[in-house]
């Protein structure tokens, strides 16, 4: 070779282009007539979530529509991502309630510690993952939105045994 061409010495005695070609054709034909089913047609079919799945939050509500939250301040304290903003208030009977309760779902790392620490089982992480929005502001969930969420609670929390005893 006039110019520096790297030549690969192929295993000459054992190579057969024709047989290799036919083998390849047979393989693709096998897949053609009997394709393996691997595609999940997403919006129509959904993958099973893990039992440990922790998705966006929801706030549990009382029967009269008030949030169960008593604004104790444990969740913003424990939150490692510092994504919960809580402004507590107190009514004339001395019951504490959240005046502002916001979770920034962009900052949230979905560790689920807010749910674990909550003494009244008010805040929960949920089995949900379709969270697309058009603006960044929409990812800060306020109290009304958290209460309006209707997806399932995470399976890590058992309503029969709320305090994991």
């Amino acid at each position: 070779m006039a110019i520096g061409v790297k030549t690969v010495k192929r295993p000459e005695g054992t190579t057969s282009y024709l047989r290799a070609t036919l083998k390849g054709m047979a393989l693709t034909f096998k897949h053609l007539v009997n394709p393996r089913k691997v595609t999940l047609q997403y919006p129509d079919e959904k993958a099973d979530l893990s039992p440990r799945w922790r998705g966006t939050h929801r706030m549990a509500v009382h029967a009269d529509g008030r949030p169960k939250c008593v604004a104790c301040g444990l969740c913003p304290t424990i939150c490692p991502a510092n994504c919960i903003r809580l402004v507590p208030g107190e009514d004339d009977q001395g019951n504490r309630y959240p005046v502002v309760y916001e979770i920034d779902e962009f900052r949230c790392i979905f560790c689920g510690m807010c749910q674990e620490v909550c003494p009244v089982e008010a805040i929960h992480v949920g089995r949900d993952y379709e969270n697309a929005e058009f603006t960044r502001e929409r990812f800060v969930y306020d109290l009304d939105r958290l209460m309006a969420q209707d997806h399932e609670f995470t399976l890590l929390w058992d309503p029969e045994d709320p305090l994991s005893e």
Partner: protein
Amino acid sequence: MHEIGALSRTGFVIASAIKVVAVFTIVMVAVAMFTWLERRLAAWIQDRLGPNRVGPFGLLQPLADGLKNLLKEESSPGQVSRLYFILAPALAIFPALMTFAVVPFAAPLPTPWGLVEMVVADLPIGILFIMALSSMGVYGVVMAGWASNNKYAFLGGLRASAQMVSYEVSLGLSLVPVFMLVGNVTLTQVVWTQQGEIGLWLALPLGLSFFLFVISAFAETNRLPFDLAEAESELVTGYHTEYSAMKFSMFFIAEYSHVLTASALMATLFLGGWDIPFVKFDDMVVVAPGVVQGAEPAVWKTLLTGLVFAAKTLFFVCVYMWVRWTLPRFRYDQVMHLGWKVLLPTALAYIGLIGTTILVLDRLGLEYGTLYGLVLTGVSLVATAVFLWIIDRDRVIGGAYVPRRVPVGRRVVQPAPQPEPAAGVAGYVHAQST
């Protein structure tokens, strides 16, 4: 002989117009469906699903694609040579669509006004017309590559021209045995030979021709494993890199109509055209305007043979796609090697072989018929076996080195080099060159 009666002059014009419109429509619809079929087949081969959302089974996908291409912005890059840039897609698509005109697609149709042949134009020069037009197809590609004024497009056009010119030769030569056996280049006559005179599909008596023709046709249509002209991994998309919207779509339509025409030709020349195998009721040929030799034409026979022809063509189209999604692209020197050093000499040798056999058979006084065909089948089988045996030796299309000429029997197996090959090349024994 069946006298059906010829069409009047006006009737001929009307019938021809109807045939032109019908064939054009069917070809365009078929081409559109092929894009869908190709994507579905590719998907199945790769364990995917393919387009299945638009309409039942995704059948309306081509419609959506066409609409999208019509509505897309026509971009015309600043550096292009405008006239040729716009002319190129048109030049690519016309020959691709025109070649179908001489392909007979069904048995002749008897009508109250006379006999209508089911071929748009039964040219006496049949196959020559196709060869001439299919080599026109390269102009569109070369012009697109040149006018784009882009190095990738240019390289694509360059490769296409060299490749198509090379394979044109073996394509033509692989058909010479057909002419020799049929004694005619009219496609209707080729079909009749396979139905009546020999009674065998030419894929049998001219097996090697069939093989060579299929390979050359793959190269001619620029389909994988010969799609050097658009080699995505090297040349973006080759000659149509700069094209968008409907102009791009025209190249696409041209490619698929080439595939359709090549498949129809394979079916016509080597698989009996619209002949239904093993039955005699469809064996007929138009010997003069309105006069049919062989079986009596009927409307249902026309429809049935049309379906059979469609099935055969579809079979080859599927083979095209199956091959495309199996085989990797050749390297450029391998393409040239295969074309000039393998296919061309083989085609020439085969012409000599078939010519000699025909001469010998004629000298022996063997009647032109099925036995004649069977003798040729035997000769072809031997020739094909020898050809495949030679091509199956690893050296014919080897790597980029000059092979040492060691006789197969005396080849000494080199002991593997002592430090085991690295994990990445395990199982890949490097012969030590000393």
